[in-house]
């Protein structure tokens, strides 16, 4: 591994902030879901990189990444379900136009 760990951490941080900016700036709910996936993936990269550098022999970091995969898959399935059922009630996907759940 000639590439230093810091480079992986930097890429991970940049991708995380890109995803964060996307969640805050975009209006389409599907794109917001995509940006959340980007953030989860950035966290995965940091986990694997740190596991390579500091981890013991039993791959704890990779185990956490596997659990993040599970969470990400569940999140996309339920998130798209919510988006589609909201879309069926009123055909909008922009999150600032979905007023129904406002109290």
């Amino acid at each position: 591994m000639t590439v230093p760990l810091g480079a992986y951490v930097a890429v991970s941080a940049v991708l995380f902030f890109i995803g964060c900016a996307g969640v805050l700036v975009r209006r389409n709910a599907v794109v917001i879901l995509m940006c959340v996936e980007l953030m989860l993936n950035a966290a995965n990269l940091a986990l694997v990189a740190f596991s390579r550098k500091y981890g013991s022999i039993d791959e704890r970091g990779s185990v956490f990444v596997v659990f993040v995969f599970v969470i990400a898959a569940a999140e996309v399935a339920v998130g798209l379900g919510i988006i589609l059922s909201a879309y069926r009630n009123r055909p909008v996907v922009n999150v600032d136009e979905i007023h129904q759940m406002k109290g």
Binding site: M1, T2, V3, P4, L5, G6, A7, Y8, V9, A10, V11, A13, V14, L15, F17, I18, G19, A21, G22, L24, V25, R26, R27, N28, V30, V31, M34, C35, E37, L38, N41, N44, L45, V48, A49, S51, R52, K53, E59, S62, V63, V65, V66, F67, F69, V70, I71, A72, A73, A74, V76, A77, V78, L80, L84, S85, Y87, P91, V93, N94
Partner: protein, 176 residues
Amino acid sequence: MTLDVIEPAVFAILSIGVIGGGVAVVMLSRITAAALLMALTFLSMAGMFVLLGAETIAAFQVLIYVGAITVLILYGVMFTKFSDQPRALFFQRQTPLAAVFVAAVAVPVVIVGSISFAGGPARPGGGDLPALATSVFTDFAFPFEIASVLLLAAMVGAIVLTKRDDPEEAAARRRR
């Protein structure tokens, strides 16, 4: 050693793929293109996992993210309608101020992160599947089972959320 020369170059290409794809997801107004470029980001990320010596994770990444999640997102895009104004939810008038705040948080994190951990590897990479499997099925066996229950719950939840209510069935429920 040739690998020492190739590895930084491969890393550079992959990081361009990761960050370029991520920027494209945020900037592009065509959502289908954004979803496909998100797949590029995930694929480059899988390459980075291979560089780190985590081949099993890279395989999972390709299967789950590039395969399943991208296809799911594309289905979501096809079932919904595009909008004309893709951006500007919160930052409508505060754009310069927001940019200053983002830079103030993001730049130190990136710089400190890249400086603090500028060391070499602790151990050589290798096949990570035996170690990963041993961990998952011994120390993390209970979280693994919980994760499978979570997946089942998410599956049932997604079906319930998207199921179209049969009008006759709904009428029968109202009568009861």
